[in-house]
Amino acid sequence: MGKLKNSMRKITKKNLMTYICLAIGFVIIQSCSAGGLLTFQIKGLLVPVCIYIICAVALNLVVGISGELSLGHAGFLCLGAYGAAIFSKITNGLIPDPIRFLLALIIGAAVGALFGFLIGIPVLRLNGDYLAIVTLAFCQIIQNLLNVFYIGVDKHGLHVAMQDPTKLELEEGGQVIVKGAQGITGTPKDANFIIGIILVFITLFIVLNLIDSRTGRAIMAIRDNRIAAESIGIDVTKHKLLAFTISAGLVGMAGALYSHNLATLTVAKFDYNTSILILVFVVLGGIGNIRGSIIATVILYVLPELLRGLQTYRMLIYAIVLIVIMLFSWAPGAIAFRQRIMERLKNRGKGVQ
């Protein structure tokens, strides 16, 4: 019992460290920002970094903790963004701004979680690469359908149409909200860095507590050995679905933040490259390592933006760095090589003593 208490304290300490580091980072950036030390370019990156941290932590819940590969998280980001933006456009001016934005965030999360649940029911029966390809397919379907999706509003309420905006049959004074491939324009710009950081904290709180809960341990047991977990009475489908839904909901919330940060929202930004971008953050930060996801996101999102001066060589360098890091951190040969070097350094340290 004493041992258990001790280990619990260790986990709490580790989580506290994560929160504290994040808080310190926030204070430093915020004071730099107040002191006018940040360029306009970097200030523009702050909210997107928060968005991608939420996405990476949420995806890590699926990839690292639940052990399922999803290539469809850009789809949930997109749905959350759309849901929240549509809500904000309709109710703009009717509800006080802070309450409207709060509701928009909740709606974004709800839309993401709803679709995560609906997609998860059939899809989570598959596993491994099949699951990856099916989630990728879902992402493509969402993108494809939203590209021809129109919503308008007039005094009779909402009108929805596919493919043809004239089918909306709006009355005079009606307003088209979603314009197919052109997306949604003019969503109120409510997002800022402080709200972004608060949402990152909420995400971390949910994910870290889930991992350390009884449910979280059940999810990890399924990841490590599904058959063994099933044999001791863990409901596999329920737990997988829970992790997937929570993850999709958090990403949907990030989507709401996304749509309230930019004036224009188009589907084209949520293609499979975005899913892969988030996956890269997760894998390079360490699969199952939440703190690693945060660090990797900050470095890997800010780095290419700072390399913009190199223009055409930017993505080339990014690709090479990606391959080299993967080889260096995952190849068994490279791992053995690193260990040899570490040992040699240690021995040298001893020799000096």
Partner: protein
Amino acid sequence: MSFFSYLINGVGLGSVYAIIALGYTMVYGIAKMLNFAHGDVIMIGAYIVFVAMTSLGIPALPSLIVAMIFCLVLGVVIEKVAYRPLRNAASKLAVLITAIGVSYLLQNIALLVFGPNPKSFSNIVKLPPVSIGGINISSTTLVTIAASVVIMLVLTFFVKKTKPGQAMQAVSEDRGAAGLMGINVNGTISLTFAIGSALAAVAGALMCSSYPILDPYTGSMPGIKAFVAAVFGGIGSIPGAMIGGILLGIIENLSKAYISSQIADAIVFAVLIIVLLVRPAGLFGKNVQEKV
């Protein structure tokens, strides 16, 4: 256009998917990895044919052979440098991300070398259209269909009847045991990548002959769709990849013609999902019983 000509064009498009899917399915079967860079090898192959024909003035067939050799070497080098060190990595995701890195690398190299502007690809099949029952069918479509059938038959023969082909089957079944039986595992995997990449060059040239716009991102969408086709037919199965590819092409073309060109892709992917839910191993896949 009549239903029949839509159907034939669909089969033509599907044959391109089938050739790409054959490469995908062989590589997946043996290396058990999603080779996301496969679509970009197609793009590189098409660029090589383009340069050889347009800038160097080499006739179509020799250009194609040059491109096949180039892609073959490229595929083997990619496998050796980027994938082989990660073959026994602790997580399968490592090699997936590396493949994505290779895909970005190839796209950006093409972007630097050939520029972002799309090139108009000249058709490698210079034959007049053929008229069957009053419908004109482009000879490119017919050549593509014929090429995919020939490639599938040759590959099936190769895998079933020749020694290197049987080595491939053995390695894909159990890599460790195959190694113990004296099969050169590394060599066999290299051979698979070589064949898959050479096929990618053929697919690239045929695809750009039918849809003559070539830019650094040309390969990525057909690459994904061909993978869908391979999964559709049951991954690892050669006839499965062929039939999956052709079905995919037909579904895509018919939904473009009769439903909507904008949501044709959504329909294709929806069909994939339905098939996988009903038959989780694909149409021709083997259902492996899980043992405790």
